[in-house]
């Protein structure tokens, strides 16, 4: 066993119950250099890193999500535990460091006990000794070490000596030869009860009270050594946070705050990003000779890149807010507050976090649903997540609202929150309907339960929040970026080629003089003629041929082939819609406008060539908003849903139900609005 491992770099895994100071210790040991392994689901991400140089240890340190026991009860925990026993890439751990909150000793010790029984070589790091000291107690480390016959030490991240001793222990353990055979522990209820009794005995023999405070705490000592009452400040705050009226009020304010922040805070930043990219694009076109290279660079690549970056501010803001809610301890309260209403429609309080993450991106949200133990509730949560208005829809809504309500920022913000609300209401309705017919759609019966630790309220640790925000946002750029740029280039190719024949065929529907003139003269400095030649180019392009094929299903919606092609591209990612429209309506950069303004201007003039009808009118734009609110248009989400539910049934149902109803609803809205005279 040992020889087989000798080539492998040594691995230390850091494990611990939630809120046991695990992440703080990880950051301390590894510094700023780390990388995230696995997909960054809100709960399944974990970091792996080397020790910082000054620690003189050459091995990998793996962080892992908090768990309370080695017996998994949700898919989320199963992944963590499977990776602990044997990580597919990094193998078996040589040493496991398990963190235990001293003031939570009797609960947190269960995990350490199970690890010892499984045969892991463990170092027990006791954290938060100061909190225990405030209660008037301390842990006799030497005695605990003697009982367990394993390494036990106090770790206060602020004390250099503590870390030094920890490192010394790690080194000693790494040097020793060791069998990497770990057995899975099997605890039945009886064993669990016995273990807790044993832990109780250990607790009594290692936790002592400090003489000076002895009298005050004798009463608590008699019941459980470390007392049963949690942090008094937390209980006081909860009196308000979980209050029947104030609690609900604060919950609604918090949720409202999240969505307005996404819009209000991000708007100026997005404007800035847009400006930067239009300037780069301008720079390219004015410095390169006109032709396909300049066009590919400015419209295909830079335009596509701009489409990715423009809503990065929103994603960052959303992750910061989610991080704040989680780190202060409020997220668990939110889940608790809405558990009962959600349970009525077949969901769970634990659906709260995945649904909230769905406003950023459906992919981490679907992964976050792994924390839901009940399979049916988990599948139902995954099913409705795409209806949460994800950040990819924001640029689309931003464009459509700017068209509908030009210059009216306050009203736009209000309408945007209504769109969000529409998404929430639809998702809850869908969940309710599916729950009613649950036996025919999601055929799983499982025990529905809600048990969740409510962490102590604390001041958020901004360094952790920023770290997570950075990881998630960067992951987004890495994942969405290449797809968007690829589609941008592909679409550019399809709209730019074939090279128009200067004296050749007439193009569909457009035969006025200016077009003929531009055909004859080819490239023209005159911008009007340039636009016309652009129009001619695009209406003979490959994209047009595809678009015209699907035009019959677009016309009932009041849209033409160009919007149809743009809608097809949204299956790569919804946000591509904006850059597709820009490409397909050939927004050539004018000097004093940014990309968005010139796109809005050409949208105003766009007409369906066969009928001469305007494409973007009040009715079609409102219809498009509803279309985007409902349609299932994201291949990545479908793929992750398939993976998480183990089949195509749910994702296919999503496409049929959501995209089908999106088409139907848009058709009804456009025609109803036109019927009552709103064009």
């Amino acid at each position: 066993m040992i020889s087989g491992q000798s080539e492998k770099r040594k691995l230390i895994t850091l494990l611990g119950p939630p809120n046991s100071g695990k992440t703080t210790l990880f950051n301390l040991l590894t510094g700023k250099k780390y990388k995230t392994v696995n997909y960054p689901g809100a709960t399944t991400e974990y970091s792996i890193s080397k020790f910082t140089d000054d620690h003189g240890i050459s091995c990998d340190l793996m962080d892992s999500p908090g768990i309370i026991s080695l017996i998994p009860s949700s898919p989320d925990e199963k992944i963590t535990i499977d990776n602990l026993y044997e990580h597919p890439e990094y193998g078996k751990p040589d040493v496991v460091i398990v963190t235990i909150d001293a003031s939570q000793f009797s609960r947190h010790f269960l995990l350490a006990k199970q690890l010892l029984e499984s045969g892991f070589k463990i170092i027990i790091a006791i954290t938060m000794n100061d909190i225990l000291a405030e209660k008037g107690f301390y842990i006799e480390i030497a005695e605990l070490k003697r009982i367990l016959n394993t390494s036990v030490l106090k770790v206060d991240p602020r004390k250099k000596d503590d870390i030094g001793i920890l490192l010394k222990n790690i080194n000693e353990y790494l040097d020793a030869d060791f069998e990497h055979t770990y057995k899975h522990v099997n605890y039945d209820e009886k064993k669990l009860l016995e273990t807790f009794e044993e832990i109780g005995r250990i607790e009594k023999s290692v936790i002592n009270f400090k003489i000076d405070k002895a009298n005050k705490h004798l009463e608590e000592l008699n019941t459980s050594v470390s007392g049963y009452l949690p942090d008094k400040m937390t209980i006081r705050i909860d009196k308000i946070m979980l209050h029947k009226i104030w609690g609900l009020f604060i919950f609604l304010i918090a949720m409202g705050g999240v969505f307005s922040a996404i819009f209000w805070l991000a708007a100026p930043l997005m404007e800035g990003v847009d400006h930067i990219f239009s300037h780069i694009s301008d720079f390219v076109t004015s410095n390169l000779a006109p032709g396909w290279i300049s066009d590919l660079l400015s419209n295909g690549i830079i335009g596509g890149l701009g489409a990715v970056m423009v809503f990065l501010p929103q994603i960052i803001i959303l992750f910061v807010i989610l991080g704040l809610l989680e780190d202060t301890g409020y997220l668990a309260r939110g889940a608790m507050l809405i558990d009962l209403p959600l349970s009525k429609i077949g969901l769970n309080g634990r659906s709260f976090v995945p649904m909230l993450s769905g406003f950023a991106c459906a992919i981490p949200a679907v992964l976050a649903a792994r924390t839901i133990q009940n399979k049916r509730e988990r599948y139902l949560t995954i099913f409705i997540i795409p209806l949460m208005s994800c950040s990819a829809r924001l640029p689309v809504y931003g464009l459509l609202l700017a068209f509908l309500l030009p210059g009216q920022f306050i009203l736009s913000g209000f309408v945007l929150s209504l769109i969000y609300l529409f998404g929430v209401i639809t998702s809850l309705t869908v969940a309710g309907i599916l729950n009613k017919y649950k036996s025919s759609i999601i055929k799983i019966e499982d025990n529905s339960s809600f048990i969740m630790e409510l962490p102590v309220y604390r001041i958020p640790r901004f360094s952790n929040i920023f770290k997570h925000t950075y990881e998630n946002s960067w992951e987004y750029v890495k994942k969405a970026g290449p797809i968007i740029i690829l589609f941008s280039i592909l679409l550019w190719f399809l709209t730019y080629f074939p090279e128009p024949d200067k004296y050749g065929y007439t193009n569909a529907g457009k035969t006025d003089n200016s077009v003929l003139k531009s055909k004859v003269t080819g490239f023209d400095e005159n911008s009007e003629n340039q636009q016309n030649s652009d129009y001619e180019r695009i209406s003979n392009s490959y994209a047009a041929r595809i678009g015209k094929f699907i035009e019959p299903i677009m016309l009932p919606l009041g849209l033409d082939w160009r919007v149809g092609v743009s809608l097809i591209t949204t299956f790569a990612a919804r946000e591509v819609f904006v850059s597709s429209l820009a490409l397909i309506f050939k927004i050539s950069d004018s000097e004093d406008e940014n990309i968005r303004e010139s796109l809005l201007n050409s949208m105003k003039d766009a007409r369906i060539s066969s009928t001469g009808e305007k494409i973007f009118t009040t009715s079609t734009v409102i219809g498009l908003i509803f279309f985007f609110a409902l349609a299932m248009q994201c291949i990545s989400t479908l793929a992750i849903t398939k993976k998480e539910t183990g089949g195509w049934k749910l994702p296919l149902l999503q496409v049929i139900v959501y995209t089908g109803s999106a088409y139907l609803v848009m058709f009804l809205i456009v025609n109803a609005l036109r019927f009552i005279g709103v064009n």
Binding site: S69, S106, E189, I235, L242, S449, I451, E453
Partner: protein, 74 residues
């Protein structure tokens, strides 16, 4: 009587956990074991789930799950 029957502010001691309940295993893992002192600290807006203090921490638990924890009121 079970935890689900208690009112906010009530203190009690756990007598036993009904092992026939499907959530009993998880409940034990969270540390709801016989002999432990608990207190109902809060209830959610709709009176369910409830917040129970146990072993120095707060646990939110649905009444349907809590009803398998038998207690004696102090």
């Amino acid at each position: 009587m079970t935890i689900a029957d208690l009112e906010t502010g009530d203190k009690a001691i756990i007598i036993k956990v009904n092992l026939n309940h499907p959530s009993s295993y998880r409940i034990l893992e969270y540390g709801f074991t016989p002999g432990q002192n608990i207190e109902i600290v809060n209830k959610s807006i709709f009176n369910d789930p409830i917040a129970v203090s146990l072993r120095g921490t707060l646990i939110a638990i649905r009444k349907n799950d809590a009803k398998c924890i038998e207690v004696e009121k102090n």
